[in-house]
Symmetry: C2
Amino acid sequence: MGKKKLSRGVAIVGGGLSKMGLFKDRNSKDFFAESYLEMLGSIDKGVDPKDIDAIYIGNFTNDFFVNQAHWGPIISDLVGHVPKPVTRTEGACASSALAFREGVFAIASGFYDVVLVGGLEQMSKRTTEEITEGLGTAGSPYEVAAGFTFPGVFGNIATNYFAKYGTNRETLFNVTIKSHLNAPLNPKAQYPMTIRDFMNARIEKCRQKGMPVPEWEDEKAFLRDVTVNPPIAWPMHLFDCCPISDGASCLLLVAEDIAKSFTDNPIYVAGIGQGSGYSLHATKNITSFEATKYAAQEAYGMSGFTPDDIQFAEVHDCFSMAELIHIEDLGFFKPGEGHKATAEGLTMLAGPKPINTSGGLKSKGHPVGATGVAQIYEVWMQLREKAGKRQIPNKNLRVGGAQNLGGTGGTCSFTILERR
Amino acid sequence: MGKKKLSRGVAIVGGGLSKMGLFKDRNSKDFFAESYLEMLGSIDKGVDPKDIDAIYIGNFTNDFFVNQAHWGPIISDLVGHVPKPVTRTEGACASSALAFREGVFAIASGFYDVVLVGGLEQMSKRTTEEITEGLGTAGSPYEVAAGFTFPGVFGNIATNYFAKYGTNRETLFNVTIKSHLNAPLNPKAQYPMTIRDFMNARIEKCRQKGMPVPEWEDEKAFLRDVTVNPPIAWPMHLFDCCPISDGASCLLLVAEDIAKSFTDNPIYVAGIGQGSGYSLHATKNITSFEATKYAAQEAYGMSGFTPDDIQFAEVHDCFSMAELIHIEDLGFFKPGEGHKATAEGLTMLAGPKPINTSGGLKSKGHPVGATGVAQIYEVWMQLREKAGKRQIPNKNLRVGGAQNLGGTGGTCSFTILERR
């Protein structure tokens, strides 16, 4: 019934992202402080933190990862925000995209003018087995009970995609190689290495240890080699899966009518969309996420933009397979055409539709609660032409999107930003 | 900076609350379905569930309590809402008051017209020790590490209150006796018994077992007897503490401009407020919650009402001590006067300022994630004169409030509803 339009516009005027990685000796407050300080410094005309009316913070389950819940007031205390309000949102790996959206609503409602939104997650304190189990609780109760943790879920989706569209796992290599070409250009990336860098590192290691030196003719040959790229849940191999990460992200949102008092270059929220899905157990089409399509419909509807208008995007490549699904669900490419477009290089940094210029979850890292806002941060950086070495060469960047997925498609968000 | 006013009004047109208790053989979906069905039936002119634009669901940590996170899409699936959006909020025991507020913002922003908000928690699958530990993670990291779980926190607050205002633990009996007088009038209450009922049950049990029959002259004598009311964390005794509970709650919010198409008797959201606090480790005044005061300031400011205008309220009596703090922080009584007002009966159902007509968390039950919306549900029921046997006798009820607290005052919400 809703009009799906905001009665007051919202702009992004600042942002920050912590260096991603595994930092067992640091904690979530450190990561958030790192992103918060960058945010403060990013605002041309400055902001008085006292003017921040409210905070929204996305977190998946630090409850489980560090045995501490209720992160809202911890963050409020950290940044000197007490006694003003803070709200945590959770939508699994889409937790902070939800925080972003609530920040937009809080301003659009007329109640607040300046809202900080962000996300955080600390995964490194747990073992890989515990993390796999913890992440599994984001799937539907039917899935984990049946043994479906996420690599298995996306492996299942992949075999279906391959059968339906007549391709095979080699097509996924193109996604991984492309993401890792962008990563070294991003100083925040957890793995700032190309696949060729990984190859060379392995060759060097073999030489140092006096072992036979492998001869891979190219990156694809490297990824084909199970001794370096072992299967995780067939056909998902190691290099198809994003890493476990720690990190935090934040963005400062303000009402459109006051945006210019913070910066001459505000980036506007053109469209917001969110959807929910059945997860695997009742989905009608296993090579598409219903929640993404609904989120896209809301965001396109609000913005008036079409998929062709979205010049570049960050999408939720928790697995290489997921990127292909998303770029089809968002309408960038027709169903079954995403893998061809990727093979043709259309999604590369210098291509006509750059996808995951940050390096994506695969190489930038995926501290799950931080990811949604981290993606929007990347789009904001690109639109301001502040993305440094990974800046998209297109000089007329005006519109970009960020798509964030939680669980097995249980929650999805799509956000469209615009430079005017 | 924000104006703290909504640019579009919001009304409550329906609501539901599950029976509270410990239901080990049922699950959170059952509880939510129970509250949802009551909500559907409560709307005079009916609602088509297809018209619900979005859902907000508060949950503290089913992550820990039932090892399942990401409850948003589970609830979306349950009520046939897929692919429309659902968002979980968390603020410890204030989780669903935050869901309520986000629902208000989503409508006030102009984006949606009809939003379902609710909360749920399932605590009965864990042992009491595990629950104490799980709840402890809602406190600040400094507290749990120092051994402060919640009974200890509120015990500490109580000894400070007693010393400061020259009273003692006997004053808390008045809170407990009053709450338990309301509980038998609430068919949803977990313990629909007065303290006298507990006394008589114990006497009957002793008779049946051939044990000496205790002779308590009144309820206070019963509460004074440590064989029936043992200390938990001095001076908090068993009857000062709310129980462990399962349950769910929901309310249907719609834009003010369409409210009359759902019911002739909408109840309007007059004020919303939320605040954050330092918890114990850095609080300046241990007998007051800064977050409550800030939340109250926002809600009073938006509504134009003063504490005297609030004719009745639900407040977060996780412990009897907490109720006294809240009725002072909300401005109903001066600091140090809450215990006197309670002793004088001013907060009783037939008194001039009824508090916790539902029986409160103490006797109604406290499934933590469900509580915030459950409190607002009670205020909504009273304002519609649908509270049955516990209906406040005042025939001119027009304004009521609900205050929800999370952690050691880390998160607090205050909501004011109005009948026009």
